[in-house]
């Protein structure tokens, strides 16, 4: 997995509460059994003028310079709620997004971000608004810096906000770890739990149904 340590980039404000994963990537854009090729479908319902079409909607922020180069999204509460589709995160990543700053996230989406090299940063709504106000003055020049090592989001030299992440998620992103490999280091512990558990909860282990 790709590492995330520090990033200075253009940030695009897409402010609306409850942006669901159907909006981030509509189902109809998930055409193949693949994690690739999804960037094109990112925000398709907003980004293009017609459903299924590819003519760009000039009003949508990610179609406008300088936001076409954005790597950070500034958004509102409950971002990524709804469907569990990891395609939402794969689409964001392929398009170029590496960090999303919001007051809260849909829980499955937040986990999916961490497993795909995207940093979800939780900041209070007022702080997100501060960042949006500053970015909107001149988005190309007013880039944000997100530093996972220090746990800080900063804007030039006048805004600096701390954020936190669970230690496991932080380690995973900083080192680009493969979560399965990390867990498999505990294979013995898992096997020991299982053999103990099979005695305590024999009913919990599946039996083939009677024919």
């Amino acid at each position: 997995m790709e590492k995330f340590t520090q990033l200075t980039a253009i940030a695009a404000p897409i402010r609306r509460i409850n942006i669901d994963t159907d909006i981030i990537i509509p189902s109809r854009e998930m055409k193949r059994v693949s994690k690739q090729g999804l960037g094109e479908g990112l925000f398709a319902g907003w980004r293009y003028t017609k459903p299924g079409g590819r003519e760009e909607n000039a009003d949508f922020i990610l179609n406008q310079p300088p936001y076409r180069e954005a790597k950070i999204i500034l958004t509102s509460a409950n971002f990524g709620c709804g469907s569990s589709r990891e395609h939402a995160v794969w689409a964001l990543h392929e398009w170029g997004i590496r960090c999303i700053i919001a007051p809260s996230f849909g829980s499955i989406f937040q986990g999916n971000c961490v497993r795909n090299g995207i940093l979800p940063v939780v900041l209070d709504d007022e702080k997100v608004v501060e960042l949006v106000n500053w970015v909107e003055q001149d988005a190309a020049a007013n880039q944000l810096t997100v530093d996972l090592v220090a746990g800080k989001v900063s804007a030039a030299d006048h805004i600096e906000y701390s954020f936190s992440l669970s230690e496991a998620d932080r380690e995973m992103l900083l080192n680009g770890l493969d979560a399965i490999a990390v867990t498999l280091k505990r294979a013995d512990e898992i096997a020991a739990f299982e053999s103990r558990d099979q005695k305590q909860r024999p009913w919990a282990y599946p039996q083939r149904p009677a024919p």
Partner: protein, 467 residues
């Protein structure tokens, strides 16, 4: 200090506390479907890893398959066939049980996992699908995950999970006639917001839940995710045990006693502490229908479309304005009487036998209004067969409904069948998001009986006038 049902389930599966607020949990069951499971299986294979214990993994075909009678691997969704065949091949290679097309047990994952007795109290169960919380109604810890986590669960039989805060939602009182579990959960979300449960695992409790049949409990837990919750749980009781007993994959007679002893201990202790508690008197709830594009945009059928001008919170106000524009509605218009173009009964929320029985009782001997497209999609092959044995299919067809094979169908738009541009649909599903049921389709979510009543009149209808 006492523990809650959620804490007991958590503790029983905790292999180790990772010390940063998360734990490594043992996962008893993994369920997959062809839309997201196919990628998880393929990607696992590509990484050279194996499914650790295939007997604990199951798979169904529900999301992309067509629901027309006589369906095959071919789908209206372009490239849908690829998902079906890729899933089938990968599942076979991995040695996991598949409820494939043509199998009488096939159906929507959250309907068939309980129906087959694969989900039952005391288990952890995950699926790369957000509505996995439905199955928490059995007193299991069941939650939706991403595809990468599904790979992790299959390869290791574990997941690293952040310990959630706990919330208890107590439903007091007795439901009025014509009001259902669907109305309860819509009411809860409308009152506290679509992010009201973010960060929480929720236990639904109280007399109104204890009196609820199993199928209604699934409906209640189904929309915990629409409340933003990590999952929802209902502590098991006699109703749960009766439901589980004798199902194909349920604990055998030999293990039943030890299972039931354990399940009885899962009930929250009297002195259990919750991080938050909400109380609702269900007698205050009326049939509830959504008017906007978030499940929090719902009001009683006897109310009017709300006015964003009265909303103080700027974020919520903006969302309401966008929603009204998308839904083509004006503030102040009574919900009842808004004309509809289609009616849909189906989905993991409301497609079980009792849902179909209740809807059939409303439409029996009547006709769907002129110009309304009305569709019934049973949640599983077994629900369909049971409904047909009672003649419900005939009731629906005589009334002008289409009677389908089971699957997710038009609960969501995958690129194939849909309701059409700007059609207004009243739907027993769980999501009224923009474009969820088709390009610019306008969805009103409601109970199956409200859907049935509205189909007859061709407009949103207060079902209490018909029952």
């Amino acid at each position: 200090m006492g523990r809650s049902c959620i804490e007991k389930l958590w503790d029983a599966h905790e292999i180790t506390d990772l010390g940063d607020g998360s734990s490594l949990l043992y996962i008893d069951r993994v369920f997959l479907h062809e839309r997201t499971g196919s990628i998880a299986l393929k990607s696992l294979e590509a990484s050279g890893r194996r499914v650790r214990n295939p007997a604990q993994v199951f798979c169904t075909m529900d999301h992309i398959v067509d629901t027309f009678p006589g369906r095959t691997d071919q789908t209206l969704m372009p490239s849908g066939t690829d998902f079906i065949t890729a899933t089938r091949e990968a599942a076979r290679a991995a040695g996991i049980t598949v409820f494939d097309l043509g199998d009488p047990r096939q159906g929507i994952v959250h309907v068939i996992a309980p129906e087959q007795g694969i989900a039952y109290p005391g288990l952890t169960l995950v699926c790369p699908d957000s509505h996995t919380c439905t199955q928490g109604a059995l007193g299991a810890l069941a939650w939706g995950i991403g595809s990468t986590e599904a790979e992790h669960a299959m390869a290791t039989q574990t997941l690293v999970v952040r310990r959630p805060k706990t919330m208890r939602v107590v439903f007091d009182g007795t439901l009025s006639h014509g009001v259902t579990a669907k109305d309860m959960i819509l009411h809860l979300i409308a009152t506290h917001g679509a992010d009201g449960g973010v960060g929480y695992a929720i236990e639904f409790a109280g007399p109104a839940v204890r009196n609820m049949p199993m199928e209604a409990r699934f409906t209640l837990c189904n929309m915990a995710v629409e409340f933003g919750a990590w999952t929802g749980v209902i502590a098991p009781d006699e109703i749960t045990y009766e439901y589980v007993r004798g199902r194909p994959y349920a604990p055998s007679a030999e293990h039943w006693e030890s299972a039931e002893t354990c399940w009885r201990s899962l009930v929250s202790d009297d002195d259990a502490r919750f991080d938050a508690e909400l109380r609702v008197n269900v007698a205050d709830i009326v049939p509830t229908v959504s008017w906007g594009t978030s499940p929090q945009h719902a009001v009683g059928i006897d109310e009017t479309v709300p006015d964003p001008a009265t909303e103080k919170d700027v974020n919520r106000r903006q969302l309401m304005e966008k929603a009204l524009e998308y839904m083509d509605l004006k503030p102040g218009v009574p919900l009842e009487g808004i004309p509809i173009g289609a009616a849909f009964i189906g989905s993991c929320t409301n497609s079980r036998l009792s849902d179909l029985r209740n809807a059939a009782a409303i439409v029996k001997g009547k006709r769907v209004a002129e110009g309304v497209r009305a569709i019934i999609v049973p949640g599983s092959g077994q629900v369909k067969a049971a409904a047909e044995a009672e003649g419900l299919d005939k009731t629906f067809v005589d009334a002008g409904f289409e009677w389908r094979e089971s699957g997710c169908s038009m609960c969501f738009f995958a690129g194939g069948e849909n309701f059409g541009l700007e059609t207004r649909v009243v739907s027993s599903t769980n999501r009224n998001f923009e474009n969820r049921q088709g390009p610019r389709t306008r969805t009103h979510i409601a109970s199956p009986t409200t859907v049935a009543a509205s189909a007859l009149r061709g407009a949103l209808t207060d079902v209490r006038k018909l029952v």
